[in-house]
């Protein structure tokens, strides 16, 4: 089963123009900041929003084109919403059976068919409860069962974990991973959390301002981000520049030495943990040393993330111990150094 879509739609001042392709059993993550148009794309795929142009085709069946719009209830799809949207007046079993009932199954067989799904998502025995009586994680599992119960061709997940607390999110993510592995149709996951995308998706498209800015496997996107947004998400400092031999002249000024030769427009990516800080210019004259100023320091787990300005704006992660030993405070002048071998370079 495949989903091919070209979604063109104007939402207020945001023009969305996104092309997607999802194969059999594949999970595509649509990653992007809030307001980038991700959910709009998903609503178009669901049929809740007719596109201004473009087309949506599933297994050669046209769902949307210039002269055709299949209403949502005639599309073979399941959708999981951010805040589960379980019907508050129905029991969990009735919620899960809803799709079967509305597609014509009688009440009793529909309830019977819902049972195994409750078992699969770990809600056995909770079928008679109302959504209000479930925890957030349980409700989201029920919502997943409700979306999957009809064995739809397309599964749409709209920020399915953003309403959960961190601990629950971890557990639900693991289960979702398992269910998506079993799922034979095409799945589209919209998220602003790169960990969701990395953990669950086979491929990622990054959407900013209504356009696809990067596409690839999660590993590719994580290793070689092409926008500041993705770089920040995956914890990299991204510096555009022009390569000449073994060094890159940054667009913002400054030179960065690299391990391999590069030519033409490139991205330089630096991991914060590979940046070392000193109070004095370090001995041994490493090639990448810059005098910078510390503008902000925020604790980040066992490290302190230091934002630096100057010739080469960087972010450095130093251990809390070293941070204390150096006696750093915002406004301090420091020397930052990075080994050339720790610098990633790839063409723009």
């Amino acid at each position: 089963m495949t989903l091919e879509a070209h979604v063109v739609v104007q939402r207020g001042s945001l023009g969305v123009d996104v092309e997607l392709s999802v194969g059999d059993g594949e999970v595509l993550a649509v990653l992007g900041p809030n307001g980038a148009g991700k959910s709009t794309v998903l609503r178009v795929l669901a049929g809740l929003l007719p596109p201004d142009a473009g087309r949506v085709v599933v297994d050669q069946e046209v769902w949307d084109s210039t002269d055709r719009h299949v209403p949502p209830h005639q599309r073979s799809l399941g959708m999981v919403f951010q805040d589960h949207l379980l019907f508050p007046h129905l029991s969990i079993t009735e919620n899960v059976a809803f799709g079967l009932r509305s597609r014509g199954m009688r009440r009793v067989p529909a309830r019977a068919a819902a049972g195994p799904w409750l078992d699969r998502v770990g809600l056995a025995g909770l079928g008679d409860r109302r959504p209000g009586e479930l925890s957030g994680g349980q409700a989201q599992r029920a919502a997943l069962a409700r979306a999957l119960v009809g064995d739809p061709r397309v599964l749409l997940l709209d920020e399915p974990m953003s309403a959960l607390d961190a601990r629950t999110r971890l557990a639900v993510r693991a289960e979702l991973h398992r269910h998506l592995g079993d799922y034979a149709g095409s799945a589209v996951l919209v998220t602003h959390d790169p960990i969701d995308a990395m953990a669950l998706a086979d491929r990622v498209v990054v959407v900013e301002d209504g356009r696809v800015v990067q596409a690839g496997t999660p590993a590719e996107v994580a290793r070689r981000p092409r926008t500041d947004y993705v770089a920040r998400l995956v914890g990299l400092v991204l510096l555009p520049g022009t390569g000449t031999g073994a060094q890159v002249a940054l667009d913002g000024g400054g030179l960065v030495a690299i391990a391999e030769d590069a030519a033409g427009p490139v991205f330089v990516a630096v991991r914060p943990e590979s940046v070392a800080l000193y109070l004095e210019r370090p001995a041994g004259s490493p090639r990448n040393v810059w005098p910078l100023r510390l503008v902000a320091a925020t604790p980040h787990g066992s490290v302190v993330r230091c934002d630096l300005t100057g010739e080469v704006p960087l972010t450095a992660d130093v251990t809390a111990t070293s941070f204390a030993e150096l006696g750093l405070a915002p406004g301090a002048d420091v020397w930052a150094s990075v080994k050339a071998s720790e610098v990633a370079v790839y063409t723009r």
């Binding site: 669901a46 209830h73 019907f87």
Partner: protein, 271 residues
């Protein structure tokens, strides 16, 4: 145990609220105080009283049913559809609220009367006349009371989270199924509140009824009409009848509250 004033109500709200209660309740107290309690038994024993009360309850309930059947779909159209001229439509729906009921009664004559736009063909071809029948009472009450239902149901529909309807659509439910199985249960408390308002308004309806349906004991004389005419002859009897109407309507509403709204009130709609 000493009771302190409820710290939850700020003074600028508490004072007007108490004034409002006094304003609404004192006339009632007046009725109760001035009621001729000694003669209340013989007053109630009059067959016309039971007749008028029964007719009032039956017609108000029928008017509420008609209002539900027609008014809930209208509220949906006003709240959810994208048809043009919706704001004009909403304004028209509220016309009976501002129209003096007597004028409403005359207007009903002009449409459904023997010489009315629809009434004339009905009369000439089918021999059906609507004025001065119990049907006319129900029509007059529905005309005046239905806007109350429509407006409160429309408000409930607007307040309800429309994304539940999206969710139902992605689960294969067409709009009618969605309305039946999702929207309707979600706004049920709003519909119940609207129906209560509608019923209460229909029960107290006077002007449109006496104009369009006339006043005849047993067929069209509802309690408010009986009260008004009693007022011409014997104000004390009018007070007694008013109290009976009041007691019965309050009793009915309290009973329904326990039956319908007693449970599930804590079950909100997830935001």
């Amino acid at each position: 145990m000493r009771r302190r004033p409820d710290p939850g109500v700020p003074l600028p709200l508490l004072v007007p609220a108490l004034l409002a209660v006094a304003f609404l309740v004192l006339p009632l107290v007046g009725l109760v105080v001035r009621a001729p309690w000694s003669s209340i038994g013989p007053q109630l024993a009059q067959p016309e009283v039971g007749q008028a009360l029964r007719l009032s309850l039956v017609t108000a309930s029928l008017a509420t049913v008609v209002s539900l059947v027609l008014g809930v779909p209208l509220a949906w159209v006003l709240a959810r559809s994208r048809i043009r001229g919706r704001s004009v439509l909403r304004a028209l729906v509220t016309v009976p609220l501002v129209l003096p009921p007597v004028v409403g009664g005359v207007a009903l004559f002009l449409v459904l009367g023997r010489n009315g736009l629809l009434g004339r063909p009905l009369y000439e071809h089918l021999g059906i006349t609507i004025p001065f029948t119990t049907t006319a009472v129900v029509i007059a009450e529905t005309f005046v009371a239905m806007p109350f239902l429509v407006i409160s149901v429309e408000g409930a529909l607007r307040a309800a989270d429309a994304r539940f309807e999206d969710a139902a659509a992605t689960l294969g439910a067409d709009r009618w199924t969605t309305f039946r199985r999702v929207t309707l249960p979600l706004v049920a408390p709003g519909i119940a509140a609207g129906a209560v308002l509608c019923w209460a308004r229909a029960l107290g309806e006077f002007g449109a009824t006496i104009t369009f349906a006339g006043n005849f004991p047993g067929t069209t004389q509802t309690m408010p009409l009986a009260v008004y005419l009693a007022l011409q002859r014997d104000p004390e009897a009018a007070i007694v009848l008013s109290l009976v109407l009041l007691a019965v309507s309050l009793g009915t509403l309290l009973l329904l509250r326990d039956r319908w709204l007693g449970r599930g009130s804590g079950q909100g709609i997830a935001a």
